[in-house]
């Protein structure tokens, strides 16, 4: 505690200046590099675009997370439009100055990867889970093969695949942006885990529900959409949120293939001779950021479970 606050130095130009002032932690390194931690190397003049995207994100999430939001009936439309608008804002083009994706970094990069992965892995995961439960053997085998392959290897090897050999599989002359390749891999990785969580929910639905839907004359997709999935999703909320949290934490792995998320920025700061040796301060700061976001997600999921609880309380 003393080391964290009482004996700590909050200002200073280098580690030596810090230790001259106080014997505890040296937080000046965070203060100096706060902008770097937030935006990475995004051009200073264009940073309003990142800020605007964050506002849009809050605007989009608000009606999804809270029932009482005034514009909730448009929530789905907004959510579908959001990725395109934000992608345009961040990458540029069509009237905005283009920004190369290798300038993305810091917390902004974490949010970009995390939210893309979360947004796209859920629908793909649902399809894979339905595929695995399907009565059509061909579809079932492909789903199982895909899910088990992805779950059997570490994310870091998939990211290496994305960074070293994915370009070989594209038609000659076509190259993908590194960030885009990472986004695809992270999404596929999370989808496989998501599929397993949702499969658990599907298996918990009593057979009678499927039979009832059949006897009502509902087709496969209607039965799934109206009867089975709403119940299955409710059961699997804790697992889904756990997968989200896992994915969000796994975004840090991108530093190994050279993208600069907050952890990467922190490591780069430590390479600066003025701040060398302050690893504990830098890593604790990044840890607090992740703790707040992940703990927030976990708490919201508990709230959601309580809200959707339709059983009788004992």
């Amino acid at each position: 505690m003393d080391w964290l606050f009482l004996d700590a130095a909050f200002t200073g130009g280098s580690r030596d200046e810090c230790s001259a002032k106080a014997g505890g932690a040296c937080w000046a390194v965070i203060g100096e590099r706060l902008n770097l931690f937030t935006y990475g190397f995004y051009p200073v003049a264009e940073r309003w675009r990142v800020n605007l995207s964050l506002v849009l994100l809050i605007f989009t999430l608000f009606p999804i997370l809270f029932e009482k939001a005034p514009y909730r009936k448009y929530a789905l439309h907004i959510a579908v439009a959001f990725p395109f608008v934000t992608a345009w804002l961040l990458v540029g083009g069509l009237g905005l100055t283009p920004v190369e994706t290798d300038q993305f970094g810091g917390f902004m990069l974490t949010l970009v990867i995390g939210i893309t992965g979360i947004g796209f892995s859920l629908p793909i995961g649902i399809l894979l889970a339905l595929g695995r439960q399907s009565k059509l053997p061909a579809i079932q085998i492909f789903s199982i093969g895909f899910i088990e392959f992805i779950r059997g290897v570490p994310l870091i090897t998939l990211l290496f695949v994305a960074s070293t050999m994915l370009n070989y599989f594209l038609p000659p002359g076509v190259t993908f942006d590194l960030l885009l390749r990472v986004l695809i891999m992270v999404t596929l990785f999370a989808s496989a885990y998501m599929a397993e969580v949702i499969r658990g929910g599907l298996q918990a639905i009593p057979k009678g529900q499927f039979e009832a839907a059949d006897s009502m004359g509902l087709r496969y997709w209607s039965a799934m959409r109206l009867i089975v999935l709403p119940q299955a999703m409710k059961i699997s909320i804790p697992g889904i949120v756990n997968t989200f949290i896992g994915l969000y934490k796994d975004t840090t792995l991108v530093i190994i293939i050279g993208l600069l998320d907050p952890l990467g920025i922190g490591r780069a700061s430590l390479a600066d001779t003025r701040w060398t040796g302050l690893s504990t301060e830098v890593y604790l700061f990044v840890a607090i950021f992740f703790f707040i976001s992940c703990f927030g997600m976990a708490r919201y999921s508990q709230h959601l479970e309580n809200k959707l609880e339709t059983d009788h309380k004992r």
Binding site: P154, T157, Y168, P171, D250, F290
Partner: protein, 390 residues
């Protein structure tokens, strides 16, 4: 009959529709695969690279600071890969062991009636679970490297072991031929213990008589070998590390990369295991404990014989996936320079030879086999402890 009507009839029939969908799916997926493979062949030809694993026999010409088997920079890439596999296995197995012990203790603490222990365990678990594992690894590594002394100011532990930021230097045992006798006695002790436990359980079932199994086993496995070790006259000598220049030489060394990875992975996984253990113990009806106590069985034996065997049925399946996660997370070793599979064959070898495709295929296959191996072992264990129903 016109073709459109007959097609739509085919589509409406459930059986023929499912066949059509499956054929379409197979054609689509194999088409995609063929397209990707064709692209890869064209691309590889364009830059003049073949596809072969011949490079594995060429000399690797890089150093690996931690090798469990003989390795020099003149060894082949294949040898480097084996060293990497062994390093991954080492950290995975020792991590699983430590994480299990820590996780079970934390899980029990989380259920403790002692408010302080309970709250502390809760805070610890919440913190660890909500922070990325890579961050834990870097943090632990940073602490080890920045707070431990440099070799010149090494922390001496009784002048035979030295703690520095380059690793923990330990005396290296050198075995003399007579040591084989001790090993033999040790093996015999284990065999005897297995037989004796069965025999004691048998006697207890028949007569109710109870042997002190634990103490007799301990004596057989450890006691007799240790006593005979001193009787023979200690057939082990130690090579003690010594400071030469800027670093220690001789002896054995546990490197900070391994320690950081091992501790960080264990602490991280332990928090998840603790929650699993807690859920497992809660799932055993309290009536079972009460019934056992009412029969006059004491608390310790109640926990061991009644509660834990039933809790294990709930604990083992999710525990398996935590073990798998730990094994897969060990691939993060590359972030701090521990030479595991990813860092050897998927890192330096890949960069030296430029054979991305072959190297990554090897790495993916190795991890898949490791995952399957762990799943397989845990499934066997799960079958043994499962509730036997009629």
């Amino acid at each position: 009959m016109d073709p459109i009507a007959s097609l739509s009839r085919l589509w409406r029939d459930e059986h023929s529709r499912s066949v059509i969908i499956q054929i379409l799916a197979v054609v689509l997926i194999f088409g995609l695969f063929a397209y990707l493979v064709r692209n890869a062949i064209v691309n590889l030809e364009a830059i003049g690279k073949g596809f072969s694993f011949g490079y594995l026999q060429e000399p690797a010409s890089y150093d690996i600071n931690q090798h469990l088997i003989e390795y020099t920079s003149r060894s082949t890439h294949f040898r480097a890969m084996l060293v990497g596999i062994l390093n991954t296995l080492l950290v995975a197995v020792s991590g699983i062991a430590l994480a299990t012990v820590l996780g079970f203790s934390l899980g029990v603490l989380r259920l403790s009636k002692n408010l302080l222990a309970n709250r502390l365990a809760h805070i610890y678990i919440d913190y660890v679970r909500n922070v990325p594992v890579l961050l834990h690894i870097l943090l632990v590594y940073g602490i080890i490297v920045n707070t431990l002394p440099v070799p010149r100011e090494a922390q001496s532990l009784g002048d035979i072991a030295f703690l520095t930021n380059r690793g923990l230097f330990l005396p290296k045992p050198i075995f003399e031929p007579l040591f084989l006798v001790i090993l033999g006695l040790f093996a015999a002790g284990i065999v005897f213990t297995i037989w004796f436990r069965r025999y004691a359980a048998d006697i207890q079932r028949k007569t109710g008589e109870h042997y002190p199994v634990f103490w007799i086993s301990l004596g057989a496995v450890l006691g007799i070998p240790v006593i005979s070790y001193f009787l023979i006259g200690g057939p082990i000598t130690f090579e003690i590390p010594a400071l030469t220049g800027f670093n220690f030489s001789g002896g054995m060394v546990i490197r900070p990369e391994f320690t950081a990875l091992w501790i960080a992975l264990s602490l991280y996984t332990a928090a998840f295991i603790a929650e699993i253990v807690r859920a497992g113990i809660i799932s055993v009806n309290y009536g079972q404990t009460e019934a056992s106590l009412a029969l006059g069985i004491n608390h310790g034996r109640t926990l061991n014989l009644v509660v834990i065997p039933q809790a294990l049925r709930v604990i083992v399946p999710p525990l398996t996936s935590q073990y798998l996660n730990l094994a897969k997370n060990s691939s993060l070793a590359i972030a701090i320079g521990y030479m595991d599979i990813v860092a050897t064959i998927g890192g330096i070898t890949l960069n030296q030879t430029g054979r991305e495709m072959e190297c990554m295929i090897i790495v993916l296959l190795l991890y898949l086999s490791l995952s399957l191996l762990i799943s397989f072992a845990m499934n066997i264990y799960n079958k043994r402890i499962r509730l036997v129903e009629r």
